[in-house]
Protein backbone atom coordinates (compact mmCIF):
# COMPACT_ATOMS: atom_id res chain seq x y z
CA UNK A 1 0.00 0.00 0.00
CA UNK A 2 2.77 2.41 1.02
CA UNK A 3 6.44 2.01 0.30
CA UNK A 4 9.17 4.52 1.22
CA UNK A 5 12.63 3.96 -0.23
CA UNK A 6 15.63 5.90 1.05
CA UNK A 7 13.49 8.94 1.76
CA UNK A 8 15.12 12.10 3.12
CA UNK A 9 13.30 15.22 4.21
CA UNK A 10 15.26 18.46 4.65
CA UNK A 11 13.67 21.77 5.57
CA UNK A 12 17.12 23.38 5.72
CA UNK A 13 20.04 22.25 3.52
CA UNK A 14 22.31 19.53 4.95
CA UNK A 15 20.12 19.10 8.01
CA UNK A 16 17.65 16.30 7.27
CA UNK A 17 14.76 15.92 9.64
CA UNK A 18 14.20 12.42 8.30
CA UNK A 19 17.03 10.41 6.85
CA UNK A 20 17.11 7.27 4.68
CA UNK A 21 13.61 6.22 5.63
CA UNK A 22 12.57 2.80 4.39
CA UNK A 23 9.04 1.82 5.26
CA UNK A 24 6.37 -0.53 4.05
CA UNK A 25 2.75 -0.54 5.08
CA UNK A 26 0.64 -3.43 3.85
CA UNK A 27 -3.12 -3.49 3.36
CA UNK A 28 -5.15 -4.46 6.46
CA UNK A 29 -2.43 -3.41 8.88
CA UNK A 30 -2.33 -1.31 12.04
CA UNK A 31 0.78 0.66 12.98
CA UNK A 32 1.68 3.18 15.61
CA UNK A 33 4.11 5.94 14.76
CA UNK A 34 6.01 7.34 17.71
CA UNK A 35 8.81 9.76 18.39
CA UNK A 36 9.53 12.80 20.46
CA UNK A 37 7.98 16.13 19.64
CA UNK A 38 9.59 17.49 16.47
CA UNK A 39 11.02 14.09 15.55
CA UNK A 40 9.27 14.18 12.17
CA UNK A 41 6.06 12.18 12.76
CA UNK A 42 3.88 14.81 11.13
CA UNK A 43 6.29 15.18 8.21
CA UNK A 44 6.15 11.42 7.64
CA UNK A 45 2.35 11.49 7.70
CA UNK A 46 2.31 14.51 5.37
CA UNK A 47 4.32 12.53 2.86
CA UNK A 48 1.79 9.72 3.18
CA UNK A 49 -1.08 12.01 2.29
CA UNK A 50 0.97 13.69 -0.44
CA UNK A 51 1.17 17.10 1.19
CA UNK A 52 4.96 16.97 1.36
CA UNK A 53 7.42 15.81 -1.25
CA UNK A 54 10.59 14.03 -0.13
CA UNK A 55 13.89 15.82 -0.68
CA UNK A 56 15.34 12.58 -2.00
CA UNK A 57 14.15 9.00 -2.32
CA UNK A 58 11.02 7.39 -3.69
CA UNK A 59 7.53 6.98 -2.35
CA UNK A 60 5.00 4.56 -3.75
CA UNK A 61 1.36 4.90 -2.81
CA UNK A 62 -1.15 2.28 -3.90
CA UNK A 63 1.37 1.03 -6.44
CA UNK A 64 2.06 4.44 -7.99
CA UNK A 65 5.29 6.45 -7.87
CA UNK A 66 4.15 9.70 -6.22
CA UNK A 67 6.77 11.77 -8.08
CA UNK A 68 5.06 10.98 -11.38
CA UNK A 69 1.49 11.69 -10.33
CA UNK A 70 -0.56 14.31 -12.13
CA UNK A 71 -2.74 16.67 -10.12
CA UNK A 72 -5.96 14.72 -10.67
CA UNK A 73 -4.16 11.49 -9.75
CA UNK A 74 -3.02 13.05 -6.48
CA UNK A 75 -6.67 13.89 -5.75
CA UNK A 76 -7.74 10.34 -6.62
CA UNK A 77 -5.18 8.87 -4.21
CA UNK A 78 -6.16 11.32 -1.48
CA UNK A 79 -9.77 10.20 -1.83
CA UNK A 80 -8.61 6.75 -0.67
CA UNK A 81 -7.00 8.20 2.45
CA UNK A 82 -8.79 9.38 5.59
CA UNK A 83 -6.90 11.90 7.70
CA UNK A 84 -7.46 12.78 11.34
CA UNK A 85 -5.60 15.99 12.02
CA UNK A 86 -4.08 16.85 15.35
CA UNK A 87 -6.02 20.14 15.38
CA UNK A 88 -9.22 18.50 13.99
CA UNK A 89 -9.56 21.04 11.15
CA UNK A 90 -13.34 21.09 11.27
CA UNK A 91 -14.99 23.78 9.14
CA UNK A 92 -16.44 26.14 11.70
CA UNK A 93 -19.33 27.50 9.65
CA UNK A 94 -20.61 24.05 8.72
CA UNK A 95 -22.73 21.90 10.99
CA UNK A 96 -21.39 18.58 12.27
CA UNK A 97 -23.59 16.82 9.71
CA UNK A 98 -22.14 18.93 6.86
CA UNK A 99 -18.57 18.49 8.10
CA UNK A 100 -18.89 14.73 8.15
CA UNK A 101 -20.69 14.69 4.79
CA UNK A 102 -17.87 16.57 3.04
CA UNK A 103 -15.82 13.54 1.89
CA UNK A 104 -18.97 11.94 0.49
CA UNK A 105 -19.73 15.13 -1.42
CA UNK A 106 -16.18 15.07 -2.78
CA UNK A 107 -16.82 11.49 -3.88
CA UNK A 108 -19.98 12.71 -5.63
CA UNK A 109 -22.28 10.56 -3.49
CA UNK A 110 -26.01 11.07 -3.91
CA UNK A 111 -27.91 13.12 -1.35
CA UNK A 112 -29.90 10.05 -0.23
CA UNK A 113 -26.75 8.14 0.63
CA UNK A 114 -25.33 11.14 2.47
CA UNK A 115 -28.55 11.57 4.43
CA UNK A 116 -28.50 7.91 5.49
CA UNK A 117 -24.80 7.41 6.22
CA UNK A 118 -23.94 10.58 8.12
CA UNK A 119 -26.38 10.11 11.06
CA UNK A 120 -25.43 6.41 11.24
CA UNK A 121 -21.75 7.19 11.55
CA UNK A 122 -22.29 10.01 14.03
CA UNK A 123 -24.34 7.57 16.13
CA UNK A 124 -21.42 5.16 15.96
CA UNK A 125 -19.04 7.77 17.37
CA UNK A 126 -21.64 8.72 20.00
CA UNK A 127 -22.63 12.07 18.54
CA UNK A 128 -26.01 11.21 17.06
CA UNK A 129 -27.64 14.01 19.04
CA UNK A 130 -25.30 16.68 17.65
CA UNK A 131 -26.09 16.45 13.95
CA UNK A 132 -26.99 20.08 13.55
CA UNK A 133 -24.60 21.51 16.13
CA UNK A 134 -21.60 23.53 15.08
CA UNK A 135 -18.01 22.60 16.00
CA UNK A 136 -17.65 25.55 18.36
CA UNK A 137 -20.35 24.10 20.63
CA UNK A 138 -18.54 20.75 21.06
CA UNK A 139 -15.80 19.78 23.49
CA UNK A 140 -12.30 18.81 22.30
CA UNK A 141 -13.08 15.09 22.56
CA UNK A 142 -16.34 15.48 20.67
CA UNK A 143 -14.63 17.47 17.93
CA UNK A 144 -12.00 14.75 17.70
CA UNK A 145 -14.74 12.14 17.19
CA UNK A 146 -16.33 14.30 14.49
CA UNK A 147 -12.93 14.50 12.79
CA UNK A 148 -12.65 10.71 12.94
CA UNK A 149 -16.17 10.28 11.57
CA UNK A 150 -15.29 12.62 8.71
CA UNK A 151 -12.07 10.71 8.04
CA UNK A 152 -13.76 7.32 7.80
CA UNK A 153 -17.16 8.06 6.24
CA UNK A 154 -15.97 7.47 2.70
CA UNK A 155 -14.54 4.08 3.78
CA UNK A 156 -10.89 4.92 3.02
CA UNK A 157 -8.33 2.19 2.37
CA UNK A 158 -5.88 3.99 4.65
CA UNK A 159 -6.50 6.06 7.78
CA UNK A 160 -3.77 8.40 9.00
CA UNK A 161 -4.26 9.87 12.45
CA UNK A 162 -1.92 12.52 13.77
CA UNK A 163 -1.99 12.59 17.58
CA UNK A 164 -5.70 11.74 17.65
CA UNK A 165 -5.67 11.43 21.43
CA UNK A 166 -3.57 14.51 22.08
CA UNK A 167 -6.49 16.73 23.05
CA UNK A 168 -8.64 14.29 24.98
CA UNK A 169 -8.53 12.63 28.39
CA UNK A 170 -7.45 9.01 28.86
CA UNK A 171 -10.96 7.62 28.85
CA UNK A 172 -11.87 9.24 25.53
CA UNK A 173 -8.45 8.34 24.14
CA UNK A 174 -9.11 4.71 24.87
CA UNK A 175 -12.55 4.95 23.30
CA UNK A 176 -11.07 6.51 20.16
CA UNK A 177 -8.55 3.68 19.93
CA UNK A 178 -11.37 1.15 20.04
CA UNK A 179 -13.00 3.05 17.18
CA UNK A 180 -9.77 2.69 15.18
CA UNK A 181 -9.66 -1.01 15.99
CA UNK A 182 -13.17 -1.43 14.66
CA UNK A 183 -12.15 0.27 11.43
CA UNK A 184 -9.05 -1.93 11.21
CA UNK A 185 -11.22 -5.00 11.54
CA UNK A 186 -13.47 -3.62 8.84
CA UNK A 187 -10.49 -3.60 6.45
CA UNK A 188 -8.92 -0.15 6.75
CA UNK A 189 -5.16 0.15 7.22
CA UNK A 190 -4.39 2.44 10.11
CA UNK A 191 -1.37 4.54 11.02
CA UNK A 192 -1.68 6.36 14.35
CA UNK A 193 1.00 8.90 15.22
CA UNK A 194 1.16 9.34 18.99
CA UNK A 195 3.57 9.86 21.84
CA UNK A 196 1.17 8.29 24.38
CA UNK A 197 3.24 5.29 25.55
CA UNK A 198 0.46 3.95 27.78
CA UNK A 199 -1.85 3.73 24.82
CA UNK A 200 0.74 1.94 22.70
CA UNK A 201 1.44 -0.59 25.40
CA UNK A 202 -2.26 -1.32 25.77
CA UNK A 203 -2.64 -2.34 22.11
CA UNK A 204 -0.45 -4.98 20.58
CA UNK A 205 0.42 -3.47 17.19
CA UNK A 206 3.77 -2.82 15.48
CA UNK A 207 5.36 0.56 16.15
CA UNK A 208 7.42 2.74 13.85
CA UNK A 209 9.67 4.79 16.08
CA UNK A 210 11.49 7.86 14.81
CA UNK A 211 14.66 8.76 16.60
CA UNK A 212 17.31 11.21 15.38
CA UNK A 213 15.77 11.20 11.92
CA UNK A 214 15.83 7.44 11.55
CA UNK A 215 12.88 5.08 11.48
CA UNK A 216 12.96 1.87 13.51
CA UNK A 217 10.27 -0.78 13.41
CA UNK A 218 9.50 -2.21 16.83
CA UNK A 219 7.28 -5.14 17.69
Amino acid sequence: MIRFQEVDVCYTPDKPILSKINLKIDPDSFHFLTGTSGAGKSSLLKMMYLALKPSTGHIEMFGRDTAKLKMFEVSNIRKRIGIVFQDFRLIQNLSIRENVALPLRIYGAKAKIIQRHVPELLDWVGLGDHLDSFPVSLSGGEQQRVAIARAVIARPSLLLADEPTGNVDDKIAERLMYLFEELYRAGTSIVVATHNKDLISEFDYPVFHITEGNLILQG
Binding site: Y49, A51, M71, F72, V74, S75, N76, I77, R78, K79, R80, I81, I83, R89, I91, N93, L94, E98, L102, P103, I106
Partner: protein
Protein backbone atom coordinates in the same frame (compact mmCIF):
# COMPACT_ATOMS: atom_id res chain seq x y z
CA UNK B 1 -18.80 26.65 3.37
CA UNK B 2 -16.61 29.50 2.15
CA UNK B 3 -16.73 32.65 4.23
CA UNK B 4 -16.82 36.05 2.59
CA UNK B 5 -20.12 37.68 3.27
CA UNK B 6 -18.91 41.28 2.90
CA UNK B 7 -17.25 40.67 -0.48
CA UNK B 8 -20.30 38.80 -1.72
CA UNK B 9 -22.68 41.62 -0.77
CA UNK B 10 -20.35 44.10 -2.48
CA UNK B 11 -20.23 41.88 -5.57
CA UNK B 12 -24.03 41.54 -5.65
CA UNK B 13 -24.47 45.32 -5.70
CA UNK B 14 -21.86 45.78 -8.41
CA UNK B 15 -23.44 43.11 -10.60
CA UNK B 16 -26.94 44.49 -10.04
CA UNK B 17 -25.86 48.01 -11.06
CA UNK B 18 -23.73 46.88 -13.97
CA UNK B 19 -26.35 44.55 -15.43
CA UNK B 20 -28.88 47.36 -15.07
CA UNK B 21 -26.58 49.62 -17.13
CA UNK B 22 -25.80 46.84 -19.61
CA UNK B 23 -29.49 46.13 -20.30
CA UNK B 24 -30.32 49.83 -20.62
CA UNK B 25 -27.36 50.34 -22.99
CA UNK B 26 -28.19 47.26 -25.03
CA UNK B 27 -31.84 48.27 -25.36
CA UNK B 28 -30.75 51.77 -26.32
CA UNK B 29 -28.47 50.40 -29.03
CA UNK B 30 -31.14 48.07 -30.39
CA UNK B 31 -33.83 50.77 -30.37
CA UNK B 32 -31.49 53.23 -32.02
CA UNK B 33 -30.67 50.63 -34.66
CA UNK B 34 -34.28 49.69 -35.24
CA UNK B 35 -35.55 53.29 -35.29
CA UNK B 36 -32.86 54.60 -37.57
CA UNK B 37 -33.28 51.69 -39.95
CA UNK B 38 -37.03 52.19 -40.03
CA UNK B 39 -36.70 55.93 -40.48
CA UNK B 40 -34.08 55.71 -43.20
CA UNK B 41 -36.19 53.13 -45.03
CA UNK B 42 -39.18 55.44 -44.83
CA UNK B 43 -37.29 58.24 -46.61
CA UNK B 44 -35.35 55.96 -48.91
CA UNK B 45 -37.53 56.46 -51.98
CA UNK B 46 -38.69 59.95 -51.18
CA UNK B 47 -37.64 63.19 -52.81
CA UNK B 48 -38.74 66.61 -51.68
CA UNK B 49 -39.36 69.30 -54.21
CA UNK B 50 -39.15 72.83 -52.97
CA UNK B 51 -41.08 75.39 -55.03
CA UNK B 52 -40.32 79.01 -54.33
CA UNK B 53 -43.05 81.57 -54.95
CA UNK B 54 -45.61 78.78 -55.49
CA UNK B 55 -48.62 81.00 -56.09
CA UNK B 56 -46.98 83.04 -58.87
CA UNK B 57 -48.08 82.57 -62.43
CA UNK B 58 -46.44 79.64 -64.17
CA UNK B 59 -43.77 80.40 -66.75
CA UNK B 60 -45.09 77.68 -69.09
CA UNK B 61 -48.83 77.68 -68.54
CA UNK B 62 -50.88 80.87 -68.28
CA UNK B 63 -53.79 79.19 -66.47
CA UNK B 64 -51.78 77.66 -63.66
CA UNK B 65 -49.55 78.65 -60.78
CA UNK B 66 -45.97 77.46 -60.52
CA UNK B 67 -47.00 74.84 -57.94
CA UNK B 68 -49.86 73.50 -60.06
CA UNK B 69 -47.62 73.19 -63.11
CA UNK B 70 -45.09 71.15 -61.15
CA UNK B 71 -47.76 68.83 -59.79
CA UNK B 72 -49.23 68.31 -63.27
CA UNK B 73 -45.83 67.36 -64.63
CA UNK B 74 -45.12 65.05 -61.72
CA UNK B 75 -48.39 63.18 -62.30
CA UNK B 76 -47.29 62.12 -65.78
CA UNK B 77 -43.83 60.91 -64.73
CA UNK B 78 -43.64 57.13 -64.52
CA UNK B 79 -42.48 55.52 -61.28
CA UNK B 80 -44.13 57.95 -58.88
CA UNK B 81 -46.25 56.31 -56.24
CA UNK B 82 -47.58 59.22 -54.22
CA UNK B 83 -47.44 62.99 -54.27
CA UNK B 84 -48.06 64.90 -51.08
CA UNK B 85 -48.25 68.68 -51.05
CA UNK B 86 -47.51 70.34 -47.74
CA UNK B 87 -49.75 73.31 -47.11
CA UNK B 88 -48.38 76.37 -45.33
CA UNK B 89 -49.54 75.22 -41.92
CA UNK B 90 -47.82 71.84 -42.30
CA UNK B 91 -44.62 73.50 -43.48
CA UNK B 92 -44.72 75.83 -40.49
CA UNK B 93 -45.31 72.80 -38.26
CA UNK B 94 -42.02 71.35 -39.44
CA UNK B 95 -40.13 74.51 -38.65
CA UNK B 96 -41.71 75.92 -35.51
CA UNK B 97 -39.64 73.66 -33.21
CA UNK B 98 -36.45 75.03 -34.67
CA UNK B 99 -37.15 78.69 -35.47
CA UNK B 100 -38.83 81.42 -33.48
CA UNK B 101 -42.19 82.81 -34.54
CA UNK B 102 -40.62 86.20 -35.49
CA UNK B 103 -38.26 84.58 -37.95
CA UNK B 104 -41.03 82.40 -39.34
CA UNK B 105 -43.15 85.49 -39.98
CA UNK B 106 -40.34 87.07 -42.01
CA UNK B 107 -39.66 84.06 -44.17
CA UNK B 108 -41.29 83.73 -47.53
CA UNK B 109 -42.06 80.04 -47.21
CA UNK B 110 -41.75 77.84 -50.28
CA UNK B 111 -44.20 75.03 -50.98
CA UNK B 112 -42.96 71.51 -50.31
CA UNK B 113 -43.97 68.50 -52.35
CA UNK B 114 -43.09 65.08 -51.03
CA UNK B 115 -42.82 62.58 -53.84
CA UNK B 116 -42.81 58.90 -52.99
CA UNK B 117 -41.22 56.80 -55.72
CA UNK B 118 -41.96 53.18 -56.54
CA UNK B 119 -38.28 52.50 -57.10
CA UNK B 120 -35.19 54.56 -56.43
CA UNK B 121 -34.77 57.15 -59.19
CA UNK B 122 -31.87 59.47 -58.93
CA UNK B 123 -32.31 63.11 -58.42
CA UNK B 124 -31.02 63.94 -61.89
CA UNK B 125 -33.82 62.01 -63.61
CA UNK B 126 -36.48 64.14 -61.92
CA UNK B 127 -34.47 67.34 -62.30
CA UNK B 128 -34.23 66.74 -66.03
CA UNK B 129 -38.00 66.44 -66.34
CA UNK B 130 -39.05 69.28 -64.08
CA UNK B 131 -36.09 71.61 -63.79
CA UNK B 132 -36.19 73.09 -67.32
CA UNK B 133 -39.91 73.87 -67.04
CA UNK B 134 -39.97 75.93 -63.90
CA UNK B 135 -36.98 77.94 -62.75
CA UNK B 136 -36.27 78.20 -59.01
CA UNK B 137 -37.30 74.65 -58.14
CA UNK B 138 -34.94 72.63 -56.01
CA UNK B 139 -35.06 68.90 -55.69
CA UNK B 140 -33.62 67.09 -52.69
CA UNK B 141 -33.34 63.30 -52.39
CA UNK B 142 -31.96 63.68 -48.83
CA UNK B 143 -28.84 61.70 -49.70
CA UNK B 144 -26.52 64.34 -48.23
CA UNK B 145 -28.00 64.39 -44.72
CA UNK B 146 -28.93 60.70 -44.84
CA UNK B 147 -25.28 59.84 -45.34
CA UNK B 148 -24.21 62.02 -42.44
CA UNK B 149 -27.02 60.77 -40.24
CA UNK B 150 -26.17 57.15 -41.02
CA UNK B 151 -22.56 57.88 -40.10
CA UNK B 152 -23.66 59.50 -36.81
CA UNK B 153 -26.02 56.64 -36.00
CA UNK B 154 -23.23 54.14 -36.68
CA UNK B 155 -20.93 56.01 -34.31
CA UNK B 156 -23.59 56.10 -31.57
CA UNK B 157 -24.36 52.41 -32.03
CA UNK B 158 -20.72 51.38 -31.97
CA UNK B 159 -20.19 53.51 -28.88
CA UNK B 160 -23.17 51.75 -27.28
CA UNK B 161 -21.69 48.34 -28.06
CA UNK B 162 -18.32 49.39 -26.65
CA UNK B 163 -20.01 50.59 -23.43
CA UNK B 164 -22.00 47.34 -23.23
CA UNK B 165 -18.87 45.22 -23.61
CA UNK B 166 -16.93 47.39 -21.13
CA UNK B 167 -19.71 46.94 -18.57
CA UNK B 168 -19.53 43.17 -18.98
CA UNK B 169 -15.75 43.29 -18.65
CA UNK B 170 -16.06 45.30 -15.42
CA UNK B 171 -18.53 42.69 -14.11
CA UNK B 172 -16.23 39.82 -14.93
CA UNK B 173 -13.22 41.67 -13.47
CA UNK B 174 -15.20 42.22 -10.24
CA UNK B 175 -15.93 38.50 -10.09
CA UNK B 176 -12.25 37.65 -10.55
CA UNK B 177 -11.39 40.13 -7.79
CA UNK B 178 -14.01 38.57 -5.47
CA UNK B 179 -12.69 35.07 -6.24
CA UNK B 180 -9.14 36.15 -5.43
CA UNK B 181 -10.33 37.55 -2.10
CA UNK B 182 -12.39 34.44 -1.37
CA UNK B 183 -9.45 32.15 -2.03
CA UNK B 184 -7.21 34.21 0.25
CA UNK B 185 -9.83 34.29 3.02
CA UNK B 186 -10.63 30.60 2.81
CA UNK B 187 -7.18 29.15 2.28
CA UNK B 188 -7.49 26.76 5.25
CA UNK B 189 -10.79 25.28 4.08
CA UNK B 190 -9.52 25.05 0.50
CA UNK B 191 -6.37 23.30 1.71
CA UNK B 192 -8.48 20.87 3.76
CA UNK B 193 -10.72 20.02 0.82
CA UNK B 194 -7.64 19.53 -1.34
CA UNK B 195 -6.17 17.11 1.20
CA UNK B 196 -9.43 15.18 1.23
CA UNK B 197 -9.06 14.67 -2.51
CA UNK B 198 -11.44 17.44 -3.52
CA UNK B 199 -9.00 18.83 -6.05
CA UNK B 200 -9.22 22.09 -7.92
CA UNK B 201 -12.24 21.03 -9.94
CA UNK B 202 -14.36 20.29 -6.85
CA UNK B 203 -13.23 23.55 -5.24
CA UNK B 204 -14.13 25.43 -8.44
CA UNK B 205 -17.62 23.87 -8.28
CA UNK B 206 -18.06 25.14 -4.72
CA UNK B 207 -17.08 28.63 -5.86
CA UNK B 208 -19.40 28.42 -8.85
CA UNK B 209 -22.37 27.46 -6.66
CA UNK B 210 -21.60 30.24 -4.21
CA UNK B 211 -21.09 32.91 -6.87
CA UNK B 212 -24.23 31.76 -8.67
CA UNK B 213 -26.24 32.39 -5.49
CA UNK B 214 -24.79 35.90 -5.35
CA UNK B 215 -24.82 37.05 -8.98
CA UNK B 216 -27.84 35.09 -10.22
CA UNK B 217 -30.47 37.07 -8.30
CA UNK B 218 -28.45 40.30 -8.70
CA UNK B 219 -28.31 39.97 -12.50
CA UNK B 220 -32.01 39.07 -12.78
CA UNK B 221 -33.13 41.90 -10.48
CA UNK B 222 -30.85 44.39 -12.31
CA UNK B 223 -32.34 43.37 -15.68
CA UNK B 224 -35.89 43.55 -14.38
CA UNK B 225 -35.38 47.06 -12.97
CA UNK B 226 -33.74 48.11 -16.26
CA UNK B 227 -36.69 46.90 -18.34
CA UNK B 228 -39.17 48.62 -16.02
CA UNK B 229 -37.10 51.83 -16.27
CA UNK B 230 -37.07 51.59 -20.07
CA UNK B 231 -40.84 51.25 -20.27
CA UNK B 232 -41.27 54.29 -18.03
CA UNK B 233 -38.68 56.25 -20.05
CA UNK B 234 -40.29 55.17 -23.29
CA UNK B 235 -43.56 56.90 -22.41
CA UNK B 236 -41.69 60.02 -21.38
CA UNK B 237 -39.49 60.07 -24.51
CA UNK B 238 -42.46 59.45 -26.76
CA UNK B 239 -44.02 62.65 -25.47
CA UNK B 240 -40.78 64.60 -25.52
CA UNK B 241 -39.51 63.62 -28.97
CA UNK B 242 -42.69 63.23 -30.93
CA UNK B 243 -42.53 66.89 -32.03
CA UNK B 244 -38.89 66.74 -33.09
CA UNK B 245 -38.79 63.30 -34.65
CA UNK B 246 -42.33 62.52 -35.69
CA UNK B 247 -43.02 58.79 -35.81
CA UNK B 248 -39.61 57.90 -34.40
CA UNK B 249 -40.82 56.83 -30.98
CA UNK B 250 -43.35 54.10 -30.64
CA UNK B 251 -43.93 51.61 -27.85
CA UNK B 252 -40.96 49.43 -26.90
CA UNK B 253 -42.96 46.33 -27.67
CA UNK B 254 -43.50 47.46 -31.26
CA UNK B 255 -40.07 48.95 -31.75
CA UNK B 256 -38.13 45.76 -31.00
CA UNK B 257 -38.68 42.46 -32.74
CA UNK B 258 -38.73 39.00 -31.16
CA UNK B 259 -34.99 38.43 -31.63
CA UNK B 260 -34.08 41.79 -30.18
CA UNK B 261 -36.26 41.11 -27.16
CA UNK B 262 -34.68 37.66 -26.82
CA UNK B 263 -31.27 39.29 -26.89
CA UNK B 264 -32.23 41.71 -24.10
CA UNK B 265 -33.87 39.05 -21.94
CA UNK B 266 -30.98 36.65 -22.43
CA UNK B 267 -28.39 39.26 -21.38
CA UNK B 268 -28.48 38.34 -17.65
CA UNK B 269 -28.55 34.63 -18.49
CA UNK B 270 -25.60 34.87 -20.88
CA UNK B 271 -23.81 36.99 -18.29
CA UNK B 272 -24.43 34.36 -15.57
CA UNK B 273 -23.12 31.67 -17.90
CA UNK B 274 -20.00 33.72 -18.72
CA UNK B 275 -19.52 34.43 -15.01
CA UNK B 276 -19.59 30.75 -14.12
CA UNK B 277 -16.96 30.04 -16.76
CA UNK B 278 -14.90 32.97 -15.43
CA UNK B 279 -15.21 31.63 -11.87
CA UNK B 280 -14.10 28.16 -12.90
CA UNK B 281 -11.13 29.38 -14.94
CA UNK B 282 -10.10 31.88 -12.22
CA UNK B 283 -10.23 29.26 -9.46
CA UNK B 284 -8.30 26.72 -11.51
CA UNK B 285 -5.64 29.28 -12.48
CA UNK B 286 -5.29 30.73 -8.96
CA UNK B 287 -5.14 27.31 -7.29
CA UNK B 288 -2.70 26.14 -9.94
CA UNK B 289 -0.42 29.03 -9.00
CA UNK B 290 -0.69 28.18 -5.30
CA UNK B 291 0.32 24.53 -5.79
Amino acid sequence: MLKNKAANIFLAWIILSMIYLAVVTLTGVLISNSSSREWLESVDNVVTIQVSDPKAKSEVDDDSTRLETIVKKLRIIAGINKIKIFDEEQTLGLLNNWLSQDILNDINLPSLIEVKLIKPINKEQISQKIGPLIPGVSIDDHSRWKQKLTFLIDIIENLGWIIFILILIVCLASIIFAITMNIANNSEVINLIDLMGGGSSFIAEIFQKQILLVIGPAALIGSFIAIVTLFILNDYLATLLSDFLPGSISSLGEKLNFWEWSFIVSTPLVFIFLSLITVRVSVLVLLGKLK
